[in-house]
Symmetry: C2
Subunit: 362 residues, 2 copies
């Protein structure tokens, strides 16, 4: 199949540091190539891929110091023109640009499928989904699509990661892990409070965005001076395997409708169970009592720590292999692509009448 | 002619307060209606027009307190889809949305002309103009198009205003006027310095944007406590007529490549000469020695104040009527529209071959 993958220009593919969308696009693209498909990746020029790379800028935008934020809309407009607008013949275009690709996707004879990577509960998105109601869309969890459940959803495709990126760690080193961003909605304060209540060490590996510096300084930093709490800052991909793998459990007291938590499946890949609040996609990812515990709040999560030994770490790894492998993700997407191509062929036959009318009337 | 005018959603048409682009679109639209054309105006719902109004939002975005800046790209995408994307049959679409309308304009069989209202010397715009090199564009001064002189410019159309919006004031009340925004590139400090050097009162009618508050507080406010200087704050459209009309001259020591200074022609409409630095479009608007003085810098402008009596105020009004009336602007644009329609008809004939090829090959 001739497949175009269209990634945002914000981060390279894969990202140099953080960037969930670009990481998933990278895994999917390389797996599709491995399966023998003819894949073109539209992404920043510093991307690394086994597919054919097409790029309109040398460097991803966020970490490029020469880049002004005013450039982003211009660069994105050019990317969309290049990837979704020209006469190239792909069998399918897979856009990861949210609704921004819709205007040209609608006008492109090549079928285009869009995966939404963010939250969809923002009121300003409703008129966009109404306008482009015919666009085939993919959600990354069933919870994500709730606010616009009436849109043209083709399927939910959970993220997947390569089998060998992380390995099963059979024994933990007796600490709880918090991994990701320090931000109010991630409730790192709850993670710290739980560790103190149960008397088990907590290791925090997290970045602090400029927007969250104030929150970090005033709310979180004062909590870090405690013998049970260790703050490691931002860690690399290589360090993640052991950081997650040696933990008793990953603690995710996230208090917002997380559309998909990539870190949760990274933890499962290491064999490490997950404790998380029942929000957004969490209950779809974690099987309560089997790969971790889905909790209502702070009290319940504190109690759940005592039950971590009930969880079989091999079962966590097995769940990752069964449900969150890149192979499964690629198969799911190929099914979505075939479906979209089939639908467009049907529409093309209908449209033939329109085209002849157009050419005879002008 | 069936004409679509597409205005930005930032301000209503005409704007409630500031908003040069929306003011010009308003004047042009009403004049085209007066001339008997069938005009549709795409603009915010609080616009007031004699044309048919089509709107996707009730209120213009900038002054709407319920509006979040994140909505702007979404609303603009919907506006472009509505105005440039659907199958309506206009003879011509006139876009005032800069390059944002290009992707759908390129794919719309209706000819679309775009007027650029801002400065074009930003490097990130170059690849956009290269990509959409076939798009017919209109500049608002010859100076404006210098950085992209190779683009598909159809014409320069100077702004115009209705004859009766401002009237000739034959006698001045002996003060200099500064009107517009307090901002570093407008050099209000130079205006104040000139007034002090020549010993003539200066009246300042200007708004201060949030981004310029710091500059105002530290650089300008301390200069205002002087018997010759009077700061009036922001004034209404109604007050402008007398504020400009009673001035000896409008002082415009602008130190940036102004693409077109609407306030300069408002001043001429009142019969008030203009002193301005030789930057951007200024020498195209002001006839040196006839409707004002085009100066190289502070010293030359200070000297020019002594020569204001040489300028015949009736000659300023006459220049406005001849060169900057809305009637002249509308005629210029109608000529551009006819030219664009003609070009598209030629291209359509060529395209007929393409369409038949397309329908026979699918």
């Amino acid at each position: 199949m001739r497949i175009a993958q269209v990634a945002p220009l914000c981060e390279s593919v894969p990202p140099k540091l953080y960037g969930g969308t670009e990481r998933v696009v990278s895994c999917l693209t390389d797996e599709l190539v491995r399966l023998g498909h003819d894949v073109t990746l539209f992404a920043s020029g510093d991307s690394v891929t086994s597919a054919r790379l097409e790029s309109i800028c040398d460097q991803a935008l966020r970490l490029n110091k020469e880049f002004s934020p005013h450039d982003a809309p211009v660069m994105t407009q050019l990317l969309i023109e290049q990837a979704l607008g020209n006469g190239r013949h792909f069998d399918i275009i897979h856009s990861h640009l949210d609704h921004l690709g819709f205007p040209l996707a609608r006008r492109n004879p090549t079928p285009t499928v869009t995966t939404f990577h963010g939250r969809l509960d923002l009121p300003e998105l409703q008129p966009v989904f109404r306008e482009y109601a015919e666009m085939p869309m993919v959600s990354i969890s069933n919870a994500q699509r709730q606010p616009v459940s009436w849109a043209n959803w083709q399927d939910t495709v959970y993220h997947g990661l390569p089998q060998d990126l992380y390995g099963l760690h059979s024994n933990s080193e007796g600490y709880l892990a918090f991994l990701g961003r320090i931000a109010p909605e991630k409730r790192p304060d709850h993670a710290i409070e739980i560790a103190k209540r149960v008397g088990i060490p907590l290791r925090i590996a997290a970045k602090v965005d400029p927007a969250d510096q104030e929150y970090f300084k005033t709310e979180i930093e004062p909590l870090l001076f405690h013998p049970l709490v260790e703050y490691l800052g931002e860690i690399t991909d290589e360090e993640k395997n052991d950081f997650l793998g040696h933990a008793m459990a990953l603690v995710c007291p996230y208090d917002w409708p997380e559309p998909f938590g990539l870190v949760l499946i990274e933890s499962l890949a290491c064999g490490t169970p997950v404790l998380a609040y029942r929000r957004g996609s969490i209950p779809e990812i974690i099987e309560d009592g089997t790969t971790g515990f889905v909790c209502e709040g702070l009290g319940e999560m504190t109690a759940a720590v005592q039950r971590i030994p009930e969880i079989d770490r091999r079962r966590c790894r097995w769940a990752f292999e069964q449900r969150f492998s890149v192979a499964r993700m690629a198969q799911d997407y190929l099914r979505v692509y075939e479906q979209a191509i089939g639908n467009v062929c049907e529409r093309k036959e209908e449209a033939m009448g329109f085209v002849s009318t157009f050419s005879s009337s002008t």
